[in-house]
Symmetry: C2
């Protein structure tokens, strides 16, 4: 378990200042005190006082998403959520779930039995057993990347996929690319559907040709890329958008195997800006999702629902991070 | 100006308790202290301490919207915003604007000159001079009912018009209505466009006939209704949706003049749930927008932008409030 010293080191302040922050002393600033508490939450440091004060319990359910280490997609979302929840005296439990668990027990039953007053759900797919129950649950529930119609107890948070994909295509068009493919994430996922539609909208708006062949579905893992890379290259793609950074890393590996140079022969763009992206060879151009802020917005939405304020959706803007995996189109590919 | 006694009366507590709340005494609860402060903001009561503590200035610009009294649309939005802003030590100024003022001075110039760190804009139309400047402003800016593409400094708040219109049409369909008209608000307004599209989507989804004639644009005032009522009746409409409650009140007046009974001959639905709606004859069925919460969400979005968190949009759910202006369709109108 983390100690007071770990917090002090992480923040570059003295142990006694950390103590003051944890104990609510009046001679340190509110902002510093908040940093101390945020860092305590991040490092998993708890005092007896911190443990005893929590009355209200929230649950984060995670499916199809890695979150254990800072390199993984869910980590910062959960961290941002917990930091905000802590400020409002909530206790947060993280529960990995499977379709089986969902089939065994109804969502409402699970929540009531465990005394959770609200839930944040990460990584759920459209066909997950609990999904149809969210249409009528009365328990305050926030879904990342899933929208439930008309239920005032449920809220959607996410990143604006339409702007993200359009930013990426605009960047490629500016580099002279005309034949752009999309290796999408999994089917049965709302964000895959949104990014597919965003691709169609943006390609259309830029007057570029596309067809079904150019926008295959895959999965959100590196291995899913390889079957599609050769095909996209064979039909003349000079750039590939990917459903996430993991797929993009798979595209890069496959290109290495095929002797295709990035970005000279092919430009590649990811989605998410995971920590691994900057370390790839070449470093990956990608659409950043601010995951820590997504977690904070998730808490804000859940807290609103608990307070009977029906926030329907909260979207963050994406940000295109340009690195070395994109470059000008090869002159010999221009017809 | 309001006195301490006004606050005490409004809350039903003693003057000394109000004093304690205003002075931050430790022997009253945080929740009660917050109610005292919220009410002080609502009634315009300020102490020297309250006036001197504010450092950061925000501006609410209002155009095409009434907000001076509690009966008017903008009042609660501004109140909710100011209550939240006050908690975070912001000073809020309300400035009515005209297209002329916008033409005279650029938005950024106005903000910088007056030392405002953020703006909330209410009632702006698509053709307003400042609107195109919002595409590139770097000043944190939140717009009610207007969406600006891709500028990370700008955020959109509003109510989900698609769910609101669909709720209304679903309600009418449940009462047997098949021929439903829409007297929309002004052209050149994003919400008029959204509600028009929502009407088209929902009528289509319910398999109902509609054409251009059945969804005229008007203005957001009672007088705008009358030219359209007789025409909609003549083409067989048994129900009319309205772009807001003021238009709906105009439909009711016009029906009275024409001897058309509501809801026996015609069902009428408004939008907003202004205080006047419940007092109309008959009381108006309408789609409620929670304006106080819209104001609070507006502050949250603006505060996020000021903190470099780019919230793109925040939507609240609407709620259909069923009163006496809607009823079963007349049997003789069913083919």
């Amino acid at each position: 378990m983390a100690t007071i010293k770990d917090i002090a080191e992480k923040l570059g302040i003295s142990v006694s200042t950390v103590s003051k922050g944890l104990n609510g002393a009046s001679d340190i600033s509110e902002a510093l005190r908040q940093s101390v508490l945020d860092t305590a939450v991040e490092l998993g440091y708890t005092t007896k006082q911190m443990r005893s004060r929590s009355q209200k319990k929230l649950c984060i359910f995670v499916e199809n998403m890695e979150y254990e280490t800072a390199e993984q997609f869910g980590y910062d979302i959960i961290l941002g959520f917990r930091q905000r929840a802590y400020r409002d005296n909530y206790d947060v439990t993280v529960v990995p779930v499977t379709p089986d668990l969902q089939s065994e027990e109804k969502y409402d039953t699970y929540m009531l039995k465990n005394g959770y007053v609200g839930g944040l759900l990460l990584g759920f797919a459209l066909q997950d057993p609990w999904m149809e129950q969210f249409g009528s649950t009365g328990i305050p529930t926030v879904l990342l990347d899933n929208y439930i119609r008309k239920n005032p107890a449920v809220s959607y948070i996410g990143t604006d996929n339409f702007e993200g994909i359009d930013d990426a295509i605009e960047h490629l068009v500016g580099l002279g690319h005309r034949c752009i493919g999309l290796i999408n994430g999994s089917r049965h996922s709302m964000i895959s559907e949104q990014r597919r539609q965003a691709y169609i909208d943006s390609m259309t708006a830029h007057g570029l040709f596309f067809n079904e062949d150019m926008m295959p579905y895959a999965y959100f893992v590196p291995e899913a890329a390889s079957p599609h890379v050769e095909h996209l290259l064979s039909i003349g793609a000079t750039a590939i958008l990917c459903g996430n950074d993991l797929i993009a890393s798979g595209v890069i590996s496959e290109c290495e195997r095929l002797g295709v140079r990035i970005p000279e022969d092919l430009s590649v763009i990811g989605f998410d800006d995971l920590p691994l992206s900057a370390g790839l060879t070449p470093p990956l151009t990608t659409v950043r999702q601010d995951r820590c802020e997504l977690g904070k917005c998730g808490f804000y939405a859940l807290h609103s629902l608990i307070s009977q304020v029906s926030v329907s959706r909260t979207l963050l803007r994406p940000r295109l991070i340009v690195r070395a995996s994109t470059g000008p189109v090869r002159q010999d590919t221009l017809g």
